[in-house]
Amino acid sequence: MNFFKSLAIALLLFSGAIEAQSVDATRQVVKIALAQEPPQLNSMKATDQVSIFVLGHVMEGLTRYDRRGNLAPGVAERWTLSSTAAKFWLRKDAKWSNGDPVTAHDFVFSWRNAVDPKTASEYAFILYPVKNAEAINQGNLPVTDLGIRAVDDHTLEVTLERPTGYFMKLTAFVTTFPVQERFYRSVEASYAADAGQMLYNGPFKITDWVHSASLKMQKNQTYWNRQTIQLNGIDADYITADTRARLNLFIDDEIAYTQLDGETYKDALKNQFRIRPFATGSVYFLEYNYRPGRITGNLKLRQAIQAAFDPDEFVNKVLQTPGNLPGASLFPSWIKGVSKTFREEFPAKVLRPDLERAKRLLAEAKAELGVEQIPPLVLLVSDSPTATKQAEYTQGMLKTKLNLDIKIDVQTFKQRLAKMTEGDFDIVGAGWGPDFDDIMTFGDLFASWNLNNRGRYNNPEYDRLVRVAMNSSDPATRMEAMAGIQTLVHDDAIILPMYEQGVIYIQHPKIKGLRRTVIGSDPDFTHARIVP
């Protein structure tokens, strides 16, 4: 033992390593790992979770989410919203990290830039409720026609295309964050490529970023609300997609937070960590192809599959990790309705497996289609282990219950997308996560004009209901229309909802106030603190 101890000390001296500690209560610093290098920290173009996580901590929009998850003033001190216009009064003490004030012009610049077709931002559509945004984004109008105007340095006026009940919630979203034009022009193409190539106006700022290795954030001393921020630093010292490596780092007390998967879940249990579930807010479903000539266009066939599928069995036997909910609707259970959640106000029809009915429906489908046996259906899925496992379950289930043949087509990320867009599938395993905190982020998914409607479902009644909800700012009218869509999704078996995604994670017991959220920057360390 003596030998090992001295060897250990020798190694310690040799490496200069200090004792690992993932949280530091005196310095108020927390260490974490990122799942990947943030690919895009230009807020006007960012779309991925890791970039949005970082941006949510180092930037701030007109509004932001407070520690309880409610919309709160950000750069804007107060605002008024009518059905076709909004006016914002910006606080005078909002500053960039270089000391310049954050002005209304910074918003005009970033909003125009985000919808400019030359920027080619995938999230330009977030700003479509703003007047002329869509036309500008399609190259039909100049960017100066966008319905946003700086009255003076601290007053911002926005004109809307149509009444948009959820407009305020968009002002907390990354795409609408301000960018200072002068700074942007000074670095242009390399904006946000490195820590020094950005200006920060959020609670933290990036002080050190070594690509693919580490990203350190420190409390921003120019942030207007700095008194309420207790953490002094968020150090992402590790960047790796490997969940087991992250669990090992957690066990070694080098990181204070990590998400688990089916594999690492068991090891975390063995280590007696407290497993915390979190619903991501995403729904996963099977999407059918409605293009002419596709057999999945037959309603009876889709209803037969619906009647054969058992969401409870799927969640318990296939997904296994805690936190997932059986699929029942296009709308996940967290979506807000008029006063309670939407699903409380408008319960979805529960999918109960009924084999007799399924068989009867399949026979009717065969008769309608005039075939003896349904030809093999192509199920397109991505190449992740979970996706293939789910596909194999579906294949086995439909074979044993209905004697339906499924051909699984496993494709890598980009190839699957290409096939989805070209319509080269019968059924595709798909999912949808919310972009903003309103029911419409799910509601218009199968509208005939929606480009994410990969199966090209086309139903005038669906489109009509979406338009009703879109053109109204009355919550009751909108929710009624969405309830109509929920019924339609079930009755027309537009998709087969499989599950609402839940994930599990572990965190250091000394961290308090860490907020998980389905919208925007998640996990949110803004109001977190470390207790001694």
Partner: protein, 310 residues
């Protein structure tokens, strides 16, 4: 020697050009749209992106533009990290992979030669049997298993000591490099051990060894001066390509130990169809490999005078 070197360099350049062309064609033949992402975009936005990356031009024109940029040493901008140049990616991450790789190859070469010599000396005896069993493990077990096991070992070691002896993952100090480079070098070490063993055994039966023994040279002198020096030649031959393979990064090892090396970019670019990064890393890797092979050929000339004469 100069003519020989120049000749090798010229054929090297042709090889690199061939690699670049083949990669370019193969990459474009892979189905899938590099500009497509989870969220569908309008045709307008896709066109703008295509214009930015020159994908709206005919393939032949893209090829010519690409080649002329490459000759000027410009690999363009990454598709996934739209504000980073591929040159910067290589510049930032290759040194990391190289540092790790050099340590790994040092482990592998030292270990390989040592174990190889031992097995040859103790042929068919216990040390030989044990080492050769481990060698088979080293060759057949994939590196992700070793990486996971190595990391688990560190976690347990740290828990046992109650303090962080060696970091579990990450990058920055020499202690961060030890376990990953050992894991990275294991496969090569096993390969070299086997090579060294057979080569040693071959040399033992050569006439010049018999002559040396007959001359009454000491066993040590025979071993180091005649046997080892001759047996090491095939090891040096494979060392070149192995150095190139290891120093350009082990994807799995980099992932598990959270190391910011080039290997990650190399593999992820293919998954993401990041055209410019695929081309940049492949051509860089190809050129590096060719260079190492040429270098080994030249070094060979110094070790073995017979090569020079040819």
């Amino acid at each position: 020697m100069l003519r020989y070197t120049l000749g090798r360099l010229l054929s090297g350049i042709i090889t690199v050009w061939f690699i670049a062309t083949a990669t370019f064609l193969a990459m474009h033949a892979v189905p899938g749209d590099p500009l497509m992402n989870e969220k569908a975009t309008t045709a307008e936005i896709r066109e703008n992106l295509a214009r930015k990356y020159g994908l709206d031009r005919p393939l032949a024109e893209q090829y010519v533009i690409y080649l002329s940029n490459m000759i000027q040493g410009d690999f363009g901008i990454s598709f996934t990290q739209q504000n980073r140049r591929v040159n910067d990616i290589i510049k930032d991450h290759f040194p990391v992979s190289a540092a790790l790789g050099i340590l790994a190859i040092t482990f592998a070469a030292l270990g390989g030669i040592l174990w190889g010599a031992i097995t040859a000396l103790y042929r068919n005896q216990l040390p030989d049997i044990i080492i050769m069993f481990l060698v088979i493990l080293g060759i057949s077990v994939p590196s992700f298993v070793f990486a996971a096991l190595g990391q688990l070992l560190l976690v347990n070691l740290n828990q046992w000591f109650g303090t962080s002896i060696l970091p579990v993952a990450g990058w920055g100090t020499f202690s961060h490099m030890l376990m990953p480079s050992l894991v990275l070098g294991l496969g090569t070490m096993a390969l070299l051990t086997r090579l060294m063993r057979s080569s040693m055994l071959e040399v033992v039966n050569e006439d010049f060894i018999k002559t040396a023994k007959a001359k009454g040279l000491s066993p040590q002198r025979i071993f180091f001066k005649h046997q080892l020096r001759n047996a090491i030649l095939p090891v040096v031959t494979v060392l070149g390509p192995q150095i190139a393979a290891i120093t350009t990064g082990g994807f799995v090892v980099e992932l598990v130990f959270a190391i910011p090396g080039l290997g990650r970019y190399f593999v992820q670019a293919v998954q993401q169809l990041d055209y410019t990064v695929i081309m940049g890393t492949t051509v860089f890797y190809g050129a590096f490999l060719v260079l190492m092979v040429i270098l080994v050929d030249i070094i060979y000339g110094f070790i073995d005078p017979r090569v020079r004469l040819k």
